[in-house]
């Protein structure tokens, strides 16, 4: 009963999801919802963590099959840690994104997982990269992903401005997640966000009942 499989759907537990990342003046905000579902109809976890810290200043958000995404981020964490120890320097964000891309591209037949990587490094500052299902790697100042992202393309296109302040960007991200969670059935729960700057990382968690409401809520 729990193993319902439909065409083009995720086998096992799916992350749903709505994920996003956006750069602002001095840093980057990365966030996701917290719902894990099976077969598009059963919420198997209301508080799954999809924002994974792969290194001190690099985070990534997972989408697609939960098992695949967890396995890939585990492998990526290991490779990134080893790379960082060998180079004797914190890794570049593009290094983390490339590691994820390599894993997704080389195993594209077996995997169903996509990622958004965001972080801060000494060389290029705040960056956001997206690794899609087949293993394409693209850098963008703001990006959204997951099934819930379709409902917020308009909002993101209209409201995102480069070089926002930290507070503006955080509010933008929270609003975007709230709008997506409100329309997508497989996104929901709490909004998990991380704000990454040169000085450090701040985790922000907005419970479902504290999310911003809109005209019809």
């Amino acid at each position: 009963k729990m193993e319902k499989v439909c065409d083009a759907q995720i086998k096992g537990v799916s992350t749903g999801t709505t994920i996003l990342a956006a750069t602002f003046d001095g840093g980057v905000v990365i966030g996701s919802d917290s719902r894990a579902s099976i077969g598009g109809e059963y919420v198997s976890s209301k508080t799954i963590n999809k924002v994974i810290q792969v290194h001190d200043r690099v985070f990534c958000c997972m989408s697609g099959s939960l098992a695949d995404a967890q396995a890939v981020t585990k492998a990526a964490k290991f490779h990134l840690a080893l790379h960082s120890v060998q180079m004797e320097t914190p890794p570049l964000v593009i290094a983390a994104a490339t590691i994820l891309k390599d894993l997704c591209y080389r195993n594209k037949e077996e995997l169903q997982a996509g990622f958004i990587t965001a972080g801060w490094d000494q060389k290029r500052g705040a960056q956001v990269y997206v690794v899609s299902l087949g293993g394409m790697l693209v850098s963008q100042p703001v990006t959204i992903g997951g099934s819930g992202s379709t409902y917020i393309y308009g909002y993101v296109d209209a409201k995102y401005k480069p070089d926002m302040s930290r507070e503006e960007c955080l509010q933008f991200a929270i609003n975007a997640l709230a709008l997506a969670m409100g329309r997508d059935n497989v996104s929901g729960g709490v909004a998990n966000l991380a704000v990454i700057t040169e000085s450090g990382v701040e985790h922000v968690v907005v419970p479902g009942n504290k999310l911003p409401t809109f005209h019809d809520d």
Binding site: G12, V13, S44, A67, Q70, A71
Partner: protein
């Protein structure tokens, strides 16, 4: 893994050794293949003030038939870690056995008690490698030096850490009870009652779950494996005795044939005892 695997390190990828054998058997049996025994099942766990309480029903089904009324679904992993298993009965049994052996070897090699998160990582790696072919949905609970933990591992290798969990075909019923009754820092009796009620809900509302309720309480002081915690009210009472006294079947003839044994080779080896 270097400390825990006594045999070779696991090879990468899925092991296809048995595929040709399975294909030959299927062809030979012409579609009348035996259905695997599933545990149907309601399993649940909760983290309480002093540790973890795990619970399970005891029915194992093979399609519509109850194959085992007193199946044990709470498996030993380590002195401080136990695992409830739902899904294919053989898969949950063997997977937990395998990890239990590995954890024992790890303990002997490293001199340390295993942590719950270690068992979870090993299980996740194993189940992910087999891509869902091993039908095991597990709830792991235990107490280690870092505290009390409760994890669930799905058949595809997804992991979730929660203070309360339910899995198996009866998990929808059990989860309802859990969601309603769970509080942080429950007392032992409250925790046992909560898990009992959750399993009871599964037993009453799910056809794949039934009979007794087993509980396992794990604290830093030790483990209390209560089997059964609650017995099924539907106990059958056999009206006849099926023990037959010696002599019931008459012996008609008796033939004794001595076996001629021949000494072929004799070797004497001195043992060095100094």
């Amino acid at each position: 893994m270097a400390l825990s695997n006594v045999l070779e390190a696991p090879a990468a990828g899925f092991n296809f050794e048995n595929s040709s054998r399975n294909a030959a058997l299927q062809a030979g049996l012409e579609g009348q293949t035996p259905r695997p025994m599933k545990t149907g099942t309601t399993i649940a766990g909760v983290v309480f003030k002093d540790g973890v309480v795990l619970g399970a029903d005891t029915r194992a089904t093979s399609s519509e038939v109850v194959a085992d009324k007193m199946c044990s679904k709470i498996h030993y992993m380590a002195p401080n870690i136990y695992c409830c298993g739902a899904g294919t009965a053989a898969d949950t049994e063997k997977t937990t056995d395998l990890v239990a052996s590995n954890l024992t070897i790890f303990s002997l090699n490293s001199g340390r008690k295993p942590r719950v998160v270690m068992a979870v990582n090993i299980l996740q790696d194993l189940l992910y490698r087999y891509r869902g072919q091993i039908g095991a949905s597990l709830i792991l609970g235990g107490v280690d030096c870092t505290g009390s933990h409760l994890y669930t591992v799905g058949p595809y290798g997804s992991v979730d850490k929660k203070p309360y969990l339910a899995m198996g075909s009866g998990n929808l019923a059990a989860m309802g009870i859990m969601e309603d009754g769970f509080r942080p820092d429950l007392e032992l009796d409250q925790a046992k009652q909560l898990v009992r009620s959750a399993i009871q809900a599964g037993i009453l509302n799910d056809l794949g779950s039934g009979h007794n309720i087993d509980l396992c309480v794990i604290t830093d002081r030790g483990v209390d494996y209560i089997r059964p915690y609650q017995e099924s009210q539907y106990k059958d009472h056999r009206t006849n005795k099926y023990r037959f006294r010696q002599g019931t079947t008459p012996v008609l003839t008796d033939t004794v044939v001595p076996l001629e044994l021949e000494v072929v080779e004799e070797k004497v080896q001195q043992m060095e005892t100094s």
